[in-house]
Amino acid sequence: MTTETLSRSVYPVTSAQGAESESVLAAIVDNEPGVLARVVGLISARGYNIESLTVAEIDFEKHTSRITIVTRGTPAKIEQIKQQLGRLVPVRRVIDVTAEADALERELALVKVVGNGDERIESMRLAQIFRARPIDTTRESFVFEITGARDKINAFIDLMRPLGLTEISRTGVLSIRRGAESD
């Protein structure tokens, strides 16, 4: 049984308008205590999906942080998430990175691969192709640092899996607008 038929909202909801897709949203927020809790609390309380979330201060003078959220939903749901985020008092603005801005996306991942012999050589060779840097080495392991769009990182991880991949750590997606204009 799918989750769709299991979910019992107050009234039968009209069947989803449009297909689900992934969306990257960026929120510029006042960097104050509890702001992350507000954003995360809103997303969980309203039952939205969250695939990754990153946050850091971006302007010390103005005291602002940028929160980048990767979420999934129908176009109507994504629009609701944007509006609900925009309603939070410390949120200054919400940017739909996927839809509005011609934006760059980057993610950083640390990937640990344990192995010997040919597999170890192969992992090093693939890492070079992906421009992943070994940042820690022992006789039977590497830790690679790789930066890129999510697809590239996913592809790298898939290739490393049969070669002794044991551990992954990812930052989640960061985004910025292309060109001279800023958000």
Partner: protein
Amino acid sequence: MTTIAATLKEPEAAAVPAGRSRERATTPKSGAELLLDALEEQGVDVIFGYPGGAVLPIYDALYKRDTIRHVLVRHEQGAVHAAEGYARSTGKVGVVLVTSGPGATNAVTGLADALLDSIPVVCLTGQVARPLIGTDAFQECDTVGITRSCTKYNYLVSSSQKLSSTIHEAFHIARNGRPGPVVVDIPKDVQFEEAVYTARAEARNRNCIVKPDIDDRRITQAVDLMRHARRPILYTGGGVINSGRAASAALRALARETGFPVTSTLMGLGAFPASDPQWLGMLGMHGSFESNSAMHGCDLMIAVGARFDDRVTGRLDAFSPGSKKIHIDIDASSINKNVRVDLGVVGDCGEILEAILEEWRRRNSREEYDFTRTRDWRGQINGWRSKKSFNYRRSETAIKPQYAIERLFALTKNRDVYVTTEVGQHQMWAAQHFHFDEPNRLMTSGGLGTMGYGLPAAIGVQAAHPDALVIDIAGDASVQMTMQEMSTAVQHNLPVKIFILNNAYLGMVRQWQELLHGGRYSQSYSESLPDFVKLAEAYGAVGLRAETPAELDAKILEMIEVDKPVLFDCVVTKEENVFPMIPSGAAHNEMLFGGHDVTGDEISEEGKALV
């Protein structure tokens, strides 16, 4: 972008001598004094509260001043509901002062209530001293954590320098944009710490709470749709009341000049006069046949400050299938949330109604509007009206609850009357049979549905309007949830009238059990109800009881005449149901009516899972 100063709806400049405000600005004072200075500057004249360890410095400062009246409640939930009643009947911000820990947690229900009904409330909570935060100190709780999801915004004040500025910002947030509750959590040592006052004019104001500019193109589109409509309806909500009296005036003018029929949610009652021939009555689950039929059959729906709540829409996929929809709301997230609309207009609904009215007149001056467009529609509505869906079987021997409300309305009609309600059957009967011609006259818990709201809310209304007649239309179950506030009413000489429709059941629960669960009345009968007359006397109030229709009028008049709080035990028929009713999971055109034989299978299997 609109400037902050321009968005302030009610300046509420306090009448404080100039000398005193200068003194405020320069001399360092304790946090408690700064707090009261800020409240004075915000025009606060009454606080609803309950003292405790973590707010003692504030109560000490309050003791020395006579500018702010303090109403001592008996439970912190009551304090918030009283502040809500005050806010809703005046349009001003209600203020609550409670202590840390249990004081704050007891206030949570009231805060959630104010959030769902968009009521401006500022709730000041004490907190343990800063060095103790996070140590599980006595009466410590994570107030900002607990209240984060039931407030519009909340603060933990980290130093007394920030205190007065934070208070001004809290009021700004509470009253502007879509109003709501704001919590300010103040550690006890901040209340002692000295700092210099920050005046309202210099305080930081959040720039996100701005009234969006009106989009003229959308106004033109709206008027286009309105001029072409053959079956239009105005569906109004609490937003019209929150927007202020000008919004009600604009709504009335627009309805008059367009001839469009008007219906309203429970929250919006009174914005449009119930005595007007264009009025269709309340809509939704227990709304009138004509309003729900008109919502279902219209070709243009103009939603003003309403949010397509599930009590209003019923089954969403069958909701008003043939209509174009215009949605006017100050909260952009309300638009397209539950129902897709064709034209969303974001902004203050009073200003937008005025803009639409202006455009309507401009277009009319060029080409006269053709009233015959809606002639058939008016005829159809009159047909629905003739069903008289609020009718009930009358009785000579027992008091029908609907009859009790009818008599209460008839006997108080020409007075300055404010009504609050609890939650349940009596609330719906009040909405059906008590008619409101003015906004801010009905205070009821619409969104959260908080039983126990009405009595403390009535206290708040009475504190704001000492000479008015304030009636809480209550049920025997609801009223017991906050009954202790009778003591507050007596102590503060607030002569509220608690009119209890006593059927000895949790009436709405019983009705649903009858319709949904084969008449198995699980835990919905109240054994051993108190004797409300003796209870009133125990509190030092007046108790009255009516058991027959013959004595009802005289007893109601007696209640009105008494200048003391009254508990009125109106003994009504036990098994009356609220009709008409749209069952769960049904559409607007599938209503149940009174006098109908209940078989127990009115609600589909699917509908039973819904609330």
